[in-house]
Symmetry: C2
Subunit: 483 residues, 2 copies
C-alpha cells in the first residue's frame, strides 16, 4: 500500500469518523484500552524483548497508556472540551448583531511518529494517537522501527477495537516502512492535516521543516527533548547537599536516563555545600548499575556524545559507575565544569540522551542566572530551595517561566503525572510550539480548530450549539458560563 | 533607532509589563481607547486623507477599535481567560501525585504588521495589538506606509496612555521604516516571540517563511484574505433570485470590495433562477458607483488582476459599473464562467482585491460541490437556502466546515461582529494557522502558552493559582469547574 493510498483512505475515514457521536468514540477508545490489557503478558514480553526495558516498567507504562485512552473517553462523554460559545442575535444594536455560535472541530488526518523510549505511552496508541482520535481525527502512525513487533501488536488491539465498535476501518492505519522517505512523504501528503512527533531534535526539526515548506503549511507538534536544568539554591545546598545529590543522581540514572525529562544539567554556586553535593553525587554515580539501552543506535550515540562532552576544555569527570558496562549497556557518568567554560561552549548545552549529567559550578547568583538563561527552551526546570531561598529569590520564578513549560519545586523532573494541569511542552527546541502540551487533556487542542456558524438554523447546528444544550455541556452563552 | 535596539527594549519592557496586575493593564487599554476618542475629528480626517475611506466608515471603525480595547480590558478584569487549572496532591495513589497547577502566560514581544484597509481596527491599535497587550506581551508595530501619519497619531494615543497609566515606556514601539528589510529583521530578531499580520498572501507568506527559517521558529498568525465563496442552493435561487443578487452585489461593492471578507465567488446550478440572478446582478453592478481605492498600489493591482481574470478562457463579463471611474477609483465588475472552466484554471480561484466577483455556473449539485471543494482555505463561506434546501442538503454543512472558519447562513460575509463566538480565521491560505482567530476574545490565545507549577509553595504561586482563588476566577479544580 502506497503512502498516497494510505492518506487517501485516512481522508475518507476522517469524513465518516468526525460525524460519529462522542459516546461511540469514547467506547472505541475504551475498547482499545481493554484490548491492550487483554494482550496480556505477551505484549509486555514483546516490548521487553525489543526495548530492553524492565517488565515492571512496561506494565506500568501500559497502565498509563490505557489510563490516557480512558481519560480521553471521559473527556468526550463530559463534552465541554469543544468550547461551545453562543452569542444570540441582537437587533437593538447598530449594526444588528447576528446569531453566532462557535465550537472546536477536528483538523483532519493526523500523522504520528512515536518515540523509541516509550513503546506504549508515546507510540502507537500513546498520547498523540489517543488525543487525535478523541478530537475526531483519523490517525496514521509511522511504526517505530526499534519496536516494530510491539507496534504491530498494539495495531492489532486498535484494529480489533475498530471492528468491534463499528468505526470506519481506516480511521487508524499503521505504516511499517521505517525509511526517512516514508516519513517525509507522510508529512508532505496533501491529505495530512497535522503531525505529532516525539523523539530527537534532528528528527523533529526535519519534519517541522518539511511541513513548513509545503504549499499549504500544516501544524507540527514535535516534542524533542530537553536537558531539564536543576537549580540548587544556596540555603538548601548548605543544609541538604547529600540528600539533594542522592535524589538528583537517582533521577539521572532512572531508566538509564532515557527520558525526555532526564535532568542532564545541575547548577549551583561555589560553596562548601556544593562540594559536598559533588562528593555525594560521585558516590551515587559509582553505585549506579549499568543497564541495556533501548537499541544499538541510542547506545552508540550516548557514548559518542558523552565522550565528546568530556573532551571539552574545562570539563572534568566526577565519576563513572564503578561497574563495567556489558554489551549494549550504558555507562552512567557524571561530569562537572565551571560557569565560564559552560557559557563559552554551546556543545555543553546539548542533550546527551542517557545517564549522563554535568554539574555547573557558578561563581555567584548572577553567573548562575546567566547560565540558566543561556539554555535553550526546556520541557522542565527545577528549583531546589528552602523557604528562606524562595523568599530571597522569588524573582527566579519569572526566569523559570521564560525557560520551561513545567517548573518543579524541590523535585526532579522524571515522572510526568497525567492530569488536567500537566504541561508537557515548552519553548523551542523542547517543542516546535510552546502553546500546546503533549500530555493531559489539553493535548487534544493540537488537533482542533474553531469554526463558527452565523444565523444557522437550529436543525443544522451541531448538538453542542443547539438551543436547550441537549448535551448538557458547559458553554459560554452571551458571556455567561452555563450548563 | 535600530531594529536590534527596538527589540532589546521590547524584551526588557516585556519583563516588567508581564508582572503588572490585570487591573493596571485594563486601565492601560481603556486609556488608549479614550485617547483615540479624544484625538477626535483630526484623527478621522488624517485617516480619510490617507486611505480615501469615507469619514462615516472611519468613525465606526474607530468605535470598533476602542470597543475591542475595552473588551480586552473587561476580559482582564474578569480573569478566567488564563485557564487556571489546579490538581492538588494525592499521596494515596501509586506513584503519589504531586500538586500541579497550570495557567497561561504571555509569549514575549509580539511584532504586528497592520493592514492598509483597516487603518484603525487591524492596524496600530487594532485587534492584534489589543490582544497581545492584554496577554501581557510587549508590542512592536511596523507602521503601514499607506497610512503612516494616522499610525503616528494612534501611536501618540498609546504613548500618552503608557505614561499616564505608568506602563514601561517601551511596552509599545512604532517602527516607521517601511522597507521589506525592516520587516524581515523584526521577524528574525532573537527577542521576537510571535508575529501578527493582516494583509496580502505574498506578504504574510514571506513573513511565515522567515519565521519558520529561524534557528528557533516562532508562531506567525497571518490573516491573508480569502474569496469567501457563496453557495446558492436551488430552491432559494428559484424563489429569491433577484433579492439574492441585490444582497450579493451590495456586499461585493461595499467599501469598493476592500475587505478580506469580500465575497469574490458565487456558485449556483444552471437554472432559470440562476439566469434571473445574473440578470439582476448585471443591473446592480451597472448601478454601483466607482469610488477611490485605498492607495495607488491597490488600485493598480485591482485593475491588473481583474483584467487578467477576464482574459481567461471561458470567462465572460456580465457587466461593469456604468459610471466611468475617475483617477484612482475602482471599476466595479462582474464576470461569469462555467464549472468546467473554473475547475481547470487555478488563476480564477485567486482573490482579486476590490469590487470584482465571478459567478460560476455549475451543471449540477455534484459539480457545484466539486468546485466548492477545489477552493483553498477560506475565512468564510455562505450557504443561501430555504428550509427545503437545508433539509435536502444538510450534508453541505460538513463540507463548509472543511473549507472555512465561519459559515454563514443566508447572509453575506462582509461585517465581522466582534464577539466571543466570532472566528475570523480559517484553513491556509486564509490564515497560517487555522487553530486561532484574529477577532474576538480568543484572539488572545495566539500570544500565550501554558506553564505548570509542580509542588510550588503558595507564596510563590501566581494569584490565579493560589488556594482560596483570590482573583475569584473560574478554575478547573480537581476536574470540577468552580469559582
Amino acid at each position: 500500500m502506497s503512502i498516497d493510498n494510505i492518506m487517501q483512505q485516512a481522508a475518507i475515514a476522517f469524513q465518516q469518523y468526525r460525524e460519529t457521536k462522542a459516546e461511540q468514540k469514547a467506547v472505541f477508545l475504551e475498547t482499545i484500552a481493554a484490548n491492550m490489557e487483554a494482550a496480556g503478558a505477551a505484549l509486555i514480553g514483546q516490548a521487553a524483548e525489543e526495548t530492553h526495558l524492565p517488565q515492571a516498567r512496561l506494565v506500568s507504562e501500559r497502565a498509563r497508556t490505557t489510563m490516557q485512552l480512558r481519560m480521553f473517553a471521559a473527556l468526550l462523554r463530559e463534552g465541554s472540551w469543544v468550547e461551545a460559545t453562543v452569542d444570540t442575535a441582537d437587533a437593538t444594536v447598530n449594526p444588528a448583531k447576528p446569531d453566532i455560535r462557535k465550537m472546536l472541530i477536528p483538523l483532519g488526518p493526523v500523522v504520528v511518529f512515536g518515540a523509541s523510549n516509550f513503546p506504549f505511552a508515546y507510540s502507537t496508541a500513546g498520547g498523540d494517537t489517543a488525543s487525535a482520535l478523541a478530537a475526531g481525527c483519523a490517525v496514521v502512525v509511522k511504526a517505530h522501527p526499534a519496536h516494530l513487533k510491539t507496534s504491530q501488536l498494539v495495531h492489532k488491539a486498535i484494529k480489533d477495537a475498530i471492528f468491534s465498535s463499528g468505526m470506519p476501518p481506516h480511521v487508524f492505519q499503521h505504516v511499517e516502512d521505517g525509511s526517512f522517505e516514508a516519513g517525509e512523504s507522510l508529512v508532505k501528503h496533501a491529505a495530512t492535516a497535522a503531525v505529532g512527533f516525539t523523539g530527537s531534535f534532528a528528527g523533529g526539526k526535519a519534519l517541522y521543516d518539511h511541513a513548513a515548506a509545503r504549499k499549504n503549511p500544516i501544524p507540527v507538534f514535535a516534542e524533542m527533548g530537553s536537558t531539564n536544568p536543576i537549580i540548587l539554591l544556596p540555603d538548601t545546598l548548605e543544609k541538604n547537599a547529600e540528600e539533594l545529590a542522592r535524589q538528583y543522581i537517582a533521577s539521572v540514572v532512572l531508566g538509564m536516563g532515557q527520558f525526555c525529562t532526564n535532568p542532564g544539567i545541575v547548577l549551583g554556586i561555589e560553596s562548601e555545600g556544593l562540594s559536598r553535593f559533588i562528593a555525594e553525587a560521585e558516590k551515587e554515580i559509582a553505585a549506579a548499575i549499568p543497564q541495556p539501552m533501548l537499541h544499538e543506535g541510542i547506545y552508540k550515540a550516548y557514548h559518542a556524545k558523552m565522550e565528546k562532552a568530556l573532551q571539552q576544555t574545562g570539563v572534568n569527570v566526577v565519576g563513572h559507575s564503578s561497574t563495567e558496562p556489558g554489551a549494549g549497556e550504558a555507562w552512567p557518568t557524571l561530569a562537572e565544569t565551571d560557569g565560564t567554560a559552560f557559557l563559552s561552549n554551546p556543545l555543553l548545552h546539548e542533550e546527551v540522551f542517557g545517564p549522563y549529567a554535568i554539574i555547573v559550578r557558578c561563581t555567584d547568583l548572577d553567573q548562575l542566572q546567566k547560565v540558566w538563561r543561556s539554555l535553550a527552551g526546556q520541557l522542565t526546570t527545577s528549583l531546589m530551595g528552602t523557604e528562606k531561598d524562595f523568599t530571597e529569590h522569588a524573582s527566579m520564578r519569572a526566569l523559570a517561566e521564560s525557560i520551561a513549560g513545567r517548573i518543579i519545586f524541590n523535585g526532579v523532573p522524571t515522572g510526568v503525572t497525567v492530569c488536567n494541569s500537566m504541561v508537557h511542552g515548552g519553548p523551542f527546541p523542547a517543542t516546535t510550539d510552546s502553546r500546546f502540551t503533549a500530555v493531559g487533556i489539553n493535548g487534544i487542542k493540537r488537533w482542533v480548530r474553531p469554526v463558527c456558524y452565523q444565523n444557522c438554523p437550529q436543525t443544522l447546528l451541531p448538538p453542542a450549539l443547539q438551543n436547550g444544550n441537549p448535551l448538557g455541556i458547559w458553554r459560554l452563552v452571551n458571556n455567561e458560563w452555563t450548563r
